[in-house]
Amino acid sequence: MKKIHIILILIIVIAIGAIISTVYNAGTYSDFTEAAKHPGKTFQIIGVLNKEKGVLFDAKNNPDQISFYIRDEKGVEKKVIFNGTKPLDFEKSDKVVMTGKMENDVFVASSILLKCPSKFTKDKNSEEKEFKAKK
């Protein structure tokens, strides 16, 4: 056996290791019901902000926390706490992708990613709306 074969085998082992670790470290896209069954375990949940209930942010008392209500893809609504300031244009967001854990019926998010229809490319619907407004 050539040395190069040993090295190639080693490299394949590392590559397989990369795959396994990715899958192992990965979360799963889930919903509130699933997260509630495993409190303390981290999940990624995609949902929509309940705009009527608004976003609670008391900048004076604690600029490091906001809370709001998210309806997940299954239609379940839960209160979410996020440690951070209110993201810009939060109310305009289309979809919210959150990472976090369920604790006492509250989802504690460690990160949130907003999908704003208007942020990078225009959503078709909002385009149409704008035309109507201009007319």
Partner: protein, 793 residues
């Protein structure tokens, strides 16, 4: 209808003509390459060259047409309306050209065509026709994407010259049936404010030039396999590979510089899927370059050299697919949204995987067998280094591709929860390995270099590096084994390479390579110093103890005019609010306090909010640069954007009161003294009315002042003339005149202090990063220059 249809028709024609010319050029070049008598006297060659040139001219014409309709603001065109507006300065009108998918593909095709023309005249006669056949074929795939055809009801690609009313979402919109619809469209959507940045003007075109250049190794590989000539292609392709490395690297750096300057993610690189997708071709370029050098110098490793040269372009197309198909929507902050380009890109990708695969299969038994490798040789360690890079790219692309795998196999796996940490942990050992391999490979010679002797040479550098490591640990106080290892490997590779440049000049033989290697290690060193040890100096000073769970206490509230400590050294004061047309700036003064307790002013930073109604507002950071560190600040919250509280008022009370009433508010007593109306004696005209009231404001010791708000109606329009008392910080407004006599609805509010929330970070020694990048690019330029000079001679 007032539409300007001619430029659009011309644009459509140019693209269609370019496609036909590219297609014919491909056929002619393929035909020529297949003929036995494929030489300079073949009649097909000039014919193909003319077609390819025509195609290039058509693309240039299409590009100019697109710029024209943008610059004269023809908003009847979808692309113009979507990505530009009248207020854009001419530099950013260029940005509009490639802000959209169609424009950026056009740019890519144009760059690739121009490089193709260069190849057409410079490539070695032997491989010219197959090389040009492959480039022409790639052109066909790119141009099809911007032709935008409808095949059996399926949209395939998207044309930059379609009219706004022709787009799928507007085709049935009655708005466009109005023959004067254009008069209602006064301005375009505008360019995303985040993209209106100097770096962003250069980042996309440079990146696309880098992408376009990767067709050259791909084309040469196919040509080599086609002609069963594994050697000739290496000489011309190596400088081109370095060229792509330089340009793509520059593109990535500009993107990083932009992210650092304009985005509040707080960094240069965040392992975002979109960033990863463009990093992978660069890493593969480095790997391919090393395999090519081994093949050229030692007549071995032909197979990996050919394989990796092909992989680069495949991953460039794949990067295009990842970023443009919308498949990353849930994982990337960049998400460019789904588009009609995903299908043609997929066809492009599959075709350009199958094509080389066929050629590899046809050649599989013909690759020259390599001799038994010698461990004490440079090529062996270069080979290992290239393999490490390959594994590193694999780890990046595999993790980044999770959304694709989810779609393919119906999985629901989300990317690693802590993305940055996950990638850093994986890539750190690779970086250590690469840094050490740089030293080993450079100190060995090609062939057999006598083991022991060569190993002694970097001994001095080793000792110096150990001393520096100890110093580093001592000064920084970061006793992290992984970081220490990386620091040592990098510093060792820098010092050993410098040693090589000065003491063992004869050993290296290739200054450009040594300089590039130094640049690489210095760059990664900069990343380690600046980002592993970045320090957040803002603090949540609200005094709320939130427990361990909420340790993210990095947001600092600043009230205008107040001075608060920031970090160990500075005090900061939000001193001024500057309102510009498209930017709200907040002046932060950085001060220090001397022994007498006096504040000394040092500098100001201006974190801001970029305003854009259509695209959404964006926070923009502001950075103070020092030689040894950057102070990076950005807003995380401001009330200035909430229209309701534009005045920043907090309501204290809203109550219906009649003359003579007394009401109490927290600090004062209010007595409704008098009400008079200029309509009192005349007939009451509810459309023209002016009511003034006088309110006596008493404080706790009995001193009093007067407030006199006015409620005015002029031609039916209500105008509130509020009365504001500076001393008491009270604002009075008559909300309504009651139907009851001498009664009003009074609202008393308090002006809130102007406040913002910021985050502040220190990035130590970030200039090391820029220095490294500069050295690395310089190394590439020297390498290209040397090889081109050799070829010319």
């Amino acid at each position: 209808m007032g539409e300007h249809l001619l430029p659009g028709q011309l644009g459509h024609f140019f693209i269609l003509f370019a496609l036909i010319a590219a297609f014919l050029a491909a056929i002619v070049f393929i035909g020529a390459a297949m003929k036995k008598s494929d030489d300079e006297f073949s009649i097909l060659r000039p014919f193909g060259m003319i077609l390819f040139s025509l195609q290039t001219i058509m693309l240039i014409a299409a590009f100019i047409t697109l710029y024209y309709i943008i610059s004269v603001h023809y908003f009847e065109y979808h692309y113009v309306w979507q990505y530009s507006s009248k207020s854009l300065s001419s530099g950013f009108l260029f940005s509009s050209l490639w802000a959209g998918q169609e424009g950026s593909i056009l740019l890519w095709a144009l760059f690739q065509a121009l490089l193709g023309v260069w190849l057409m005249f410079s490539s070695s006669a032997k491989l010219k026709t197959p090389v040009m056949a492959v480039v022409s074929l790639a052109q066909v795939f790119l141009i099809i994407m911007i032709l935008g055809v409808n095949v059996f009801g399926i949209h395939f690609g998207s044309n930059p010259f379609i009219l706004l009313r022709e787009t799928a979402e507007n085709i049935n919109n009655p708005f466009f049936k109005d023959s004067f619809y254009l008069t209602f469209i006064s301005d375009g959507n505008g360019l995303n404010p985040l993209l209106q940045n100097y770096w962003m003007l250069w980042h996309p075109p440079v990146l696309f030039l880098g992408y376009a250049a990767t067709i050259i190794p791909f084309a040469y590989t196919i040509a080599g396999l086609w002609k069963k000539d594994y050697f000739t292609w290496l000489k011309p392709v190596i400088p081109w590979t370095v060229f792509s490395l330089l340009i793509l690297g520059l593109g990535l750096l500009l993107g990083g510089a932009w992210a650092y300057e304009d985005l509040t993610f707080g960094g240069f690189w965040s392992w975002d899927p979109v960033e990863n997708a463009s990093l992978v071709p660069w890493l593969l370029l480095v790997a391919a370059l090393h395999f090519m050098l081994i093949a050229k110098k030692r007549n071995q490793s032909f197979f990996p050299a050919l394989l990796f040269a092909v992989l680069i372009y495949i991953f460039v197309i794949y990067a295009g697919f990842l970023t443009r198909s919308g498949i990353l929507a849930n994982t990337s902050a960049h998400a460019f949204g789904s588009n009609m380009l995903s299908k043609p890109l997929l066809v492009f990708l599959v075709s350009f995987i199958v094509l080389p695969l066929i050629f590899f299969i046809l050649n599989v038994r013909k690759f020259p067998k390599s001799a038994q490798e010698n461990i004490w040789s440079r090529e062996f360690w270069m080979f290992i280094g290239a393999l490490v890079l390959a594994v590193s790219s694999f780890q990046i692309i595999f993790t980044t591709s999770l959304p694709v795998l989810n779609k393919l196999f119906g999985w629901h796996i989300s990317p690693p929860l802590d993305r940055v940490e996950f990638y850093n942990n994986w890539q750190l050992p690779f970086a250590v390995g690469i840094a050490l391999l740089i030293v080993i490979a450079q100190f060995f010679l090609y062939g057999d270099s006598g083991k022991k002797e060569q190993l002694k040479k970097p001994a001095l550098s080793f000792i110096v590096s150990v001393v520096l490591l100890i110093l580093y640990l001592f000064i920084s106080g970061h006793y992290d084994i992984k970081e220490a290892l990386l620091f040592f490997a990098l510093i060792f590779s820098v010092i050993a390479s410098l040693d090589l440049l000065f003491r063992f000049y004869r050993l290296s033989g290739n200054i450009a390579a040594v300089i590039s290697h130094i640049g690489f290690s210095v760059f990664i060193l900069g990343v380690l110093l600046a980002f592993a040890h970045s320090e957040i100096i803002s603090q949540n000073t609200s005094g709320m103890n939130l427990g361990k769970r909420f340790n993210d206490s990095e947001n600092q509230l600043l009230t205008r005019g107040q001075i608060v400590p920031l970090g160990e050294k500075y005090f900061v004061s939000y001193s001024k609010f500057i309102e510009e047309e498209r930017e709200l700036k907040f002046q932060l003064d950085f001060l220090t306090r001397n022994d007498q307790g006096k504040y000394i002013y040092h500098f100001s930073l201006f974190p801001s909010i970029l305003l854009n109604e259509q695209m959404g507002n964006a926070f923009k950071p502001s950075t103070k640069r020092f030689i040894n560190k950057d102070i990076f600040t950005y807003l995380t919250f401001s009330e200035k954007l909430n229209n309701d509280s534009a005045q920043n008022l907090r309501e204290l009370i809203q109550k219906e009161i009649t003359v003579g009433d007394t009401i109490k508010i927290p600090k004062n007593k209010l007595v409704f003294d008098t009400l008079y109306s200029d309509a009192a004696n005349k007939k009451i005209d509810t459309n023209n009315l002016r009511v003034t009231v006088k309110i006596k404001v008493l404080d706790s010791i009995g001193n009093h002042t007067w407030a006199s708000p006015v409620y005015a109606v002029k031609e039916g329009k209500v105008n509130f003339e509020d009365s504001y008392l500076e001393q008491e910080n009270l604002s009075f407004r008559i909300e309504k005149i009651s139907e009851k006599r001498n009664t009003i609805l009074l609202r008393v509010s308090q002006k809130l202090p102007d406040m913002i929330i910021i985050k502040a970070k220190i990035f130590p020694f970030i200039n090391v990063l820029w220095l490294g990048a500069f050295i690395m690019m310089a190394g590439f330029i020297i390498a290209i220059w040397r090889r081109v000079r050799k070829i010319i001679e």
